[in-house]
């Protein structure tokens, strides 16, 4: 009984294909996140197999494929940069790491839940669970860049300028990427 009910909640897709990446994919994707305006083609490439099902390519071949490595690393980098900033100011305590971690996990989960609820309201059928995790996780990259800029460059004007720019570029990236889903 428990077995069936628990396995209803475990996602059934193969998570490994979100981690099949290499150096150049990560580099290009980061450039895409920070400057998405030059890119012309946003559709995901289907895999060239002879099956009937629509299967998309892995991230090695296709730059538009979502992956889970960048969100994970972005998340941890965000926590780390904030800890370094706190440490430079002189108030570091190892418990801050776990505090930041739980706070950020809560925000991340909230974001995923809001997006999932939006999908439910607009009756979108054909999405994958890990795709949502991936696309909402990309936000940590601009946020980390923002924290770095605020810490290193330090002025308010530069901070607001870069904030608005990164907001626009991230929004553009998300809209174009998820067009095929919604």
């Amino acid at each position: 009984y428990a077995q069936q009910n628990v396995s209803n909640y475990i996602p059934k897709e193969d998570i490994k294909k979100y981690f099949q990446i290499n150096n150049s994919y990560v580099f290009k994707k980061l450039m895409l996140l920070l400057f998405p305006f030059r890119n012309k083609q946003w559709a995901r490439l289907p895999m060239t197999t002879s099956e009937n099902k629509q299967v998309y390519s892995s991230p090695i071949e296709d730059i538009n494929a979502p992956d889970l490595y960048i969100p994970l690393m972005g998340f941890i980098t965000f926590i780390l940069i904030r800890s370094i900033v706190i440490g430079v100011e002189g108030e570091f305590d190892p418990q801050i790491l776990s505090l930041l971690f739980s706070k950020d996990i809560a925000i991340y989960i909230l974001d995923v839940v809001i997006l999932w609820f939006g999908f439910f309201v607009f009756n979108v059928q054909d999405y994958k669970y890990f795709d949502i995790l991936s696309y909402t996780g990309y936000k940590f990259v601009p946020i980390s860049v923002l924290v770095l800029i605020k810490e290193i460059l330090g002025g308010r004007f530069i901070f607001y300028l870069s904030f608005i720019y990164l907001l626009i570029s991230y929004g553009f990236f998300l809209i174009r990427s998820m067009r095929s889903i919604v």
Binding site: I15, K16, F19, Q20, I21, N22, N23, S24, V26, Y69, L72, M73, I76, T77, L80, S83, I84, G87, G90, F92, P94, L97
Partner: protein, 263 residues
């Protein structure tokens, strides 16, 4: 103590023998062994346990009385304080699996960047041994203690969580031709490459590193750690073209340790 108990109880049980206790006759080795398991409080009910109770007969009952029986251990008070055990027993370090030659070779490989020894002998790399990493972890904690920070549990916790999550990540990132990577091997590699951070915490004892020059030095040491550990992982996992991707989570893990050291 069991002997006295038996001798005391014996006179009583000799006179009192109810009929239903005839069932517990000595009738076979297995029953007697099982009986010997809970036997020392039931004296006098089966054959060898009656008035003639003495140590040598106890050894014929079963294997349990090996500690009381004196067949293989040496006698005398000098032998009681020495380290000789049963004959044919392996030496202690070999039983524990700690091999000093391997530890020294792996440590030198981390320190020198020259890991030709390791690549030529793959069984050293595959010798999943956690003694070196635990030693380095304790040394790190000791140097931190010299600095006035008592962070042993944080080191251990961060290390453990880092090893588990990094192992899962590398398993996900590895392609399917590689054989199964053990979590102990990941932990071993990560722990050995902690050595430059131990050196950094040793430096931190004499020079305070909480200034700009210290940050640069820390960055160099973190780079050293990730360089050697990503090299080991590249060799072990046979991944190609993902060196920076492997190095980045490792750099994060070592940066968390460096945070403990500096701040």
């Amino acid at each position: 103590m069991a002997f006295n108990y038996n001798q005391q109880q014996n006179p009583q049980y000799n006179t009192y023998k109810p009929n239903n206790l005839e069932f517990y006759q000595y009738s076979g080795q297995q029953q007697n062994q099982q009986y010997a398991a809970n036997s020392f409080v039931n004296p006098g009910l089966s054959g060898p346990m009656t008035n003639t109770f003495n140590p040598t007969s106890a050894t014929t009952v079963g294997d349990l009385t090996g500690s009381i029986g004196d067949t293989q251990l040496s006698h005398g008070i000098l032998a009681a304080f020495s380290t000789s055990g049963y004959p044919g027993e392996a030496p202690l370090l070999e039983e524990l699996g700690i091999n000093f030659q391997h530890i020294k070779m792996k440590t030198l490989a981390v320190l020198n960047f020259r890991s030709k020894n390791l690549v030529n002998n793959p069984e050293i790399l595959g010798d999943s041994d956690l003694a070196g990493p635990i030693l380095f972890g304790v040394m790190l904690g000791a140097f931190l203690l010299l600095n006035g920070k008592f962070h042993f549990s944080y080191i251990y916790g961060v290390d453990l969580i880092g090893i588990i999550s990094l192992h899962q990540l590398f398993k996900l990132m590895a392609n399917s031709e590689v054989e199964n990577i053990d979590i102990i091997k990941t932990g071993s590699v990560i722990g050995y490459c902690l050595l430059p951070l131990v050196i950094l915490s040793g430096i931190n004892v004499v020079i305070n590193l909480n200034n700009f020059l210290g940050y640069i030095l820390t960055g160099l040491f973190i780079f050293w750690c990730t360089f050697s550990s990503s090299y080991f992982f590249m060799v072990a996992f046979k991944l190609s073209n993902v060196r920076i991707l492997i190095a980045y989570p490792l750099a994060i893990l070592y940066s968390i340790f460096a945070l403990f050291i500096i701040f």
